[in-house]
């Protein structure tokens, strides 16, 4: 499998060709599919990394997605869709199904993920596309899927279909539909849908007209569809963080370039204290998103039984945080963030493109709802303070090789809650012992918030008929605690760190905690702003030497 650094070199090598910023912008303008840029990814063998064999390194896959997204989100989303569409087979496919799909994916055949329908959006249980069993053991699929990425280009589609007319959580099955084996007209592609961002992407839908598929198109059992989708989403939602981190890298780079060159009122913009605070907070927000991403992607290996919680947190927190950050940076960029021709850079496009990240594969509200359904248990376990500390250590130490991927360990509900959050008090205890006064003060403040949330969760009872907004505030607070704990654990795990590192050495962590505490001002913001101005690598990262 190609690594992120190697992929970065490949893309840099095409900077004057298919990956030229100007070329990608022109495609976006004309709403043309970035076929040449996708071909470069195919030639580099990126698709092979979408095949989830047990030896796969999930964080490395997400680093690849980030590498592509940093240059162009439209391409990253268009290409990465194949991963989303094939995950159900990696989780529940028979050895034969897995082998065949792996072969097709490696060959570069796009796979689409057919879940949503025109009138039902995220309400999957309302899906109307039907699968009817036939005498030969095969199935006949009829109905429409809409707002499907790669609906036109896909050679295979992973389609959720109603197998029981009565529906319900056991009334749907997932089918891997091979378009190459359907008669013409059975898979009718709907017209391209014109979108706000990712304008060049192949977003449309398809109608299946009596599409006959063999018995082995069914993934798992005929009533397994919903459960399998929910497990698949645990992996796809976790992978999506790479898209947001790439967009954040891109936006931070454009902003850094602007403020280091721009002069206003006789000053360099990047030297103004007020601007530096905006930059420092933006950088801190991005680093917290990265910390969540690192812990969540490593949890795929280290804490797979908790992914129902972790993936919801990551998919809610990371795109939302990055989108907010883009808003702050847009204000610094002013008219340059609005212009699509020079001196405007790629900011306007990436901002438009990124807005889809908080919508697809489960919007922020959908993910917070998913998290809230588990809050009674999460609250209990938080108050009790139990945690899988070994799992947390493995998830928080990027230098450790990941444990083998085992989809069988995915569950719909986490029996152990969320160990990362539940081990926050232990992390704060360790920080205290390290003797950084400023860092300790911030960590204590986080711990106080943790106690408050634990108490507030005890009063919360999920009710039918939709959750109130107050509940979503609880979810958001829980996400912040996860982010804080992720930052602390990452800091503690960094090998080679002298036990008594000077306090200013921890400025990245301090800025992250200050941001998560929503402190309007903290000296660490200014220090982190300088780090951003001095930053040279492709990724703006907590981890030294990140690709």
């Amino acid at each position: 499998m190609i690594g992120a650094a190697a992929l970065e070199r490949v893309l840099a090598g095409h900077e004057s060709g298919a990956w030229a910023e100007e070329a990608l912008r022109a495609l976006d303008d004309r709403e043309d599919f970035p076929a040449d840029a996708v071909a470069v990814l195919d030639d580099a063998g990126l698709a092979a990394s979408y095949v989830l064999t047990p030896d796969r390194d999930f964080p490395a896959l997400v680093a690849l997605i980030r590498t592509v997204a940093r240059r162009d989100l439209t391409v990253a989303i268009a290409h990465g869709k194949t991963f989303l569409g094939s995950v159900p087979v990696w989780i529940a496919g028979s050895p034969e199904q897995t082998r065949e799909l792996a072969e097709r994916v490696r060959e570069g055949h796009p796979v689409c993920w057919g879940l949503t329908e025109r009138d039902h959006g995220s309400d999957l249980l309302a899906g109307e596309l039907t699968a009817t069993g036939e005498e030969n053991g095969g199935w006949r699929l009829d109905g429409e899927k809409w707002l499907i990425n790669n609906a036109g280009r896909a050679r295979l589609g992973c389609v959720l279909a109603r197998t029981d007319p009565a529906g319900g959580s056991r009334g749907f099955g997932l089918f891997l539909v091979d378009r190459d084996r359907l008669p013409p007209g059975a898979w009718q592609v709907l017209p391209k849908v014109r979108t706000h961002g990712i304008r060049g992407a192949d977003i449309s839908g398809f109608v299946l007209h009596g599409a006959q598929v063999p018995a082995d198109a069914l993934i798992g059992g005929p009533g397994d569809g919903i459960a399998l989708v929910l497990k698949s989403l645990q992996l796809t939602r976790t992978a999506c963080v790479g898209l947001s981190l790439g967009a954040a890298d891109h936006a931070l780079r454009l902003t850094r370039d602007f403020v280091t060159r721009r002069e206003l009122y006789g000053r360099r913009l990047g030297s103004l204290p007020h601007v530096r605070r905006i930059l420092g907070r933006a950088a801190a927000a991005v680093l917290t998103a990265e910390a969540v991403s690192i812990l969540a992607t490593r949890s795929v290996h280290a804490l797979p039984g908790e992914l129902s919680v972790t993936s919801a947190i990551a998919k809610a927190y990371v795109p939302t945080t990055v989108q907010d950050t883009l808003g702050r940076l847009a204000e610094v960029l002013g008219v340059r963030g609005f212009l699509t021709t020079p001196p405007g850079g790629g900011f306007a496009k990436l901002e438009r493109d990124h807005r889809i990240c908080a919508i697809f594969d489960g919007s922020t509200v959908v993910n917070r709802t998913a998290l809230l359904t588990q809050t009674p248990r999460l609250g209990r376990l938080l108050r009790r303070g139990s945690a899988d500390t070994r799992g947390v250590r493995a998830a928080a130490d990027p230098s450790l090789p990941p444990a083998p991927l085992d989809p069988a360990r995915l569950t719909l509900v986490s029996a152990t809650g969320c160990s990362v959050v539940q081990s926050l008090p232990a992390a704060v205890e360790e920080i205290r012992a390290q003797g950084h006064p400023r860092l300790t003060a911030l960590a204590e403040a986080v711990l106080e918030r943790c106690g408050e949330l634990a108490a507030d969760l005890a009063d919360f009872v999920p009710v039918g008929g939709g959750l109130p907004s107050t509940a979503f505030t609880l979810a958001e607070r829980y996400e912040r605690l996860y982010a804080a704990s992720a930052c602390l654990h990452l800091f503690l795990s960094q090998a080679g760190r002298p036990a008594a590192a000077p306090d200013d050495d921890a400025h990245r962590l301090r800025a992250c905690l200050a941001h998560l505490l929503d402190l309007p001002d903290d000296p660490a913001y200014d220090e982190l702003a300088q780090t951003l101005l001095d930053w040279a690598g492709p990724a703006f990262s907590l981890l030294d030497g990140a690709p």
Binding site: G121, L264, R267
Partner: protein, 566 residues
């Protein structure tokens, strides 16, 4: 007493027709098509020609209808509600140019510009240079003396209508030395110019306002008569900064029309959609977000209304209030549209279908934050005024007249010569808070009174912090903590605007406490509104949606299909 919404708005609405009618050449369909092509909507421009929109920008002494800034805002809201591109591209940019002329020019020049506008032509305001942005003192474009002439050289960039304008108001350097009196405004009559020496720069592409003709010009020693200077030589920055007080107040106020349509689009979509077995609009979280956005729209309009009336009533303080309006209203509008986008989910992302206008509104609204003058520049402009405001007004200054808050009260004429570069500590709006607390209170408004008391305490705390600010904290190098003081002060004023309008209104809904309490709640903590407040707002929102009334302070009837067919 005068109506909040001038009667002529209904005539404009009729000319623009039913937005939902696909056959209407000025309807939403046509507006979206023009946006896709990146063009000004031609039928829309013709309709505004027919209405004579430019007359709204011309003072009555020159034959126009610009008698009241609040009426101008209501007229322009009607345009922004249909299409922000028409609002800015047909009208607001000529208005900005005009205000500079009315502020500085002699009768002859003003008459010339008025005649151009009344003849349906555009006038562009050519201040902006990419290298300097909001820093007008950095302007490089020169007007060099050459006998009875000036020679203009340099570039103006990202300027609306610069190519098609019949006249330009250019900010040019007339003195190479640094300082506030080194620039002049020059009225450039393009019809009187030789063709050579001026080069059109390529049009700038933008993500929103795509139809706007955003261009640039490069001048190479172009000769204009010395009489083209507006006001005394060297007065350019002063004039620009005074005129800016009018424009940075009224433009954000007009832009609330964008949020009005965005909110209507969202309510319409969510009312018609079924999710999880029920109507989406009944989902508790959806209700909360919509009620919150509605409250923010009302607050934005309250701030805009007080700021606009202040131009007439307390112009000597407009340097402060205009900065507060731009800083707070733009942010309220931008954040509100973002919240609605989250509610709409994938339907926000589509450029087709019944909610297609939404994504255009979101793109078109962006310049309200940085366009004309940036929010951050407005925040910065408050810093040097804070100490004097704190000392002279925040603990016992002269309160504002009631007419500042009684939206149907008459207004004196706009006096451009009363605008001042700084308020000299006069802050009748903030001072009105203590006066309100001293006055009689309706017993039913106990909660509102508690808000006002908390605000008075906050004003006292701000006064202590700001009175002592050293001069090093008055400028661009100020610490973030000082910027935060300007933010707290601005936010406090938004609450005072709501409170005072509530106390002076005759409208039954606005006289109720819900929207004022919502304003207080939403500026103090990020949690959802208390249930009774949310219910009152949500019920009003749905009632207005059902009755086809606008969501802003005026709650005015909007043109809709049934009315057409009747």
């Amino acid at each position: 007493m005068t109506p909040v919404v001038p009667e002529r708005v209904a005539a404009l609405d009729r000319l623009l027709g039913d937005p939902a009618d696909p056959a209407n050449p000025v309807g939403t369909r046509a507006v979206l098509d023009a946006d896709e092509r990146g063009e000004m909507p031609t039928a829309g421009e013709r309709a505004l020609d027919a209405y004579g929109l430019n007359a709204e920008f011309v003072p009555p002494e020159y034959g126009g209808r610009l008698t009241r800034a609040d009426h101008l805002v209501e007229v322009m809201r009607t345009v922004y509600r249909r299409d922000p591109v028409l609002g800015l591209g047909y009208g607001a940019s000529s208005f900005i140019a005009g205000v500079n002329v009315w502020t500085a020019a002699g009768t002859e020049q003003a008459t010339r510009v008025a005649d151009l506008l009344l003849g349906g032509h555009r006038v562009a305001v050519a201040f902006h240079e990419l290298a300097h942005g909001n820093d007008m003192t950095g302007t490089e474009f020169t007007a060099a003396a050459d006998g009875a002439h000036l020679r203009l050289s340099g570039r103006k960039e990202v300027v609306t209508n610069i190519s098609r304008a019949k006249a330009l108001v250019v900010l040019a350097r007339t003195d190479p030395r640094p300082g506030p009196r080194s620039h002049s405004l020059v009225l450039v009559d393009r019809t009187a110019l030789p063709g050579d020496g001026i080069r059109d720069l390529p049009r700038f592409g933008t993500v929103g306002m795509r139809g706007i003709q955003l261009g640039g010009l490069e001048f190479d020693a172009v000769r204009v008569p010395r009489t083209a200077v507006l006001g005394p030589v060297g007065s350019g920055l002063e004039t620009a900064l005074k005129a800016l007080q009018i424009t940075r107040t009224t433009l954000p106020a007009m832009a609330s029309g964008v949020l009005d349509t965005a909110l209507r689009t969202a309510v319409g979509h969510l009312s018609s959609r079924t999710l999880y077995g029920g109507p989406a609009i009944g989902i508790p979280h959806v209700r909360s977000v919509l009620a919150g956005v509605f409250a923010d729209l009302l607050r934005a309009e309250a701030v805009g209304a007080v700021g606009t009336r202040a131009l007439h009533l307390v112009p000597q303080s407009a340097s402060v209030y205009s900065a507060v309006v731009k800083y707070t209203v733009s942010k309220l509008l931008l954040d509100a549209v973002d919240r609605l986008a989250e509610l709409l989910g994938a339907h926000f992302y589509l450029r087709e279908g019944p909610s297609a206008i939404f994504q255009k509104l979101l793109r078109d609204l962006a310049p309200v934050g940085f366009g004309h003058i940036a929010r951050a520049a407005c925040q910065m402009s408050l810093l040097p005024q804070l100490p004097l405001l704190a000392r002279r007004s925040w603990t016992g200054g002269a309160p504002a007249p009631d007419a500042l808050f009684a939206l149907d009260a008459d207004l004196p004429a706009l006096r451009y010569d009363r605008l001042a570069l700084q308020a000299a500590g006069r802050d009748p709006l903030a001072a009105s808070l203590a006066a309100a607390l001293d006055g009689p209170w309706d017993g039913a408004c106990r909660q509102v009174r508690a808000v006002a008391e908390a605000d008075l305490a906050e004003l006292g705390a701000l006064a202590r912090a700001c009175a002592a600010l050293p001069v090093t904290e008055w400028g661009v190098d100020a610490s973030p903590a000082t910027y935060d003081l300007a933010d707290r002060y601005s936010t406090l004023l938004t609450r005072v605007c709501c409170l005072q309008i509530q106390r002076h209104t005759t409208d039954p809904f606005l006289a109720g406490p819900a929207w004022t309490l919502a304003a207080a709640h939403r500026t103090r903590r990020p949690s959802p509104l208390p249930r009774p407040v949310e219910d009152a707002l949500f019920d009003e929102l749905l009632a207005r949606h059902r009755d086809h009334r606008s969501f802003g302070l005026a709650a005015r009837p909007l043109l809709h299909r049934e009315e057409n067919t009747r």
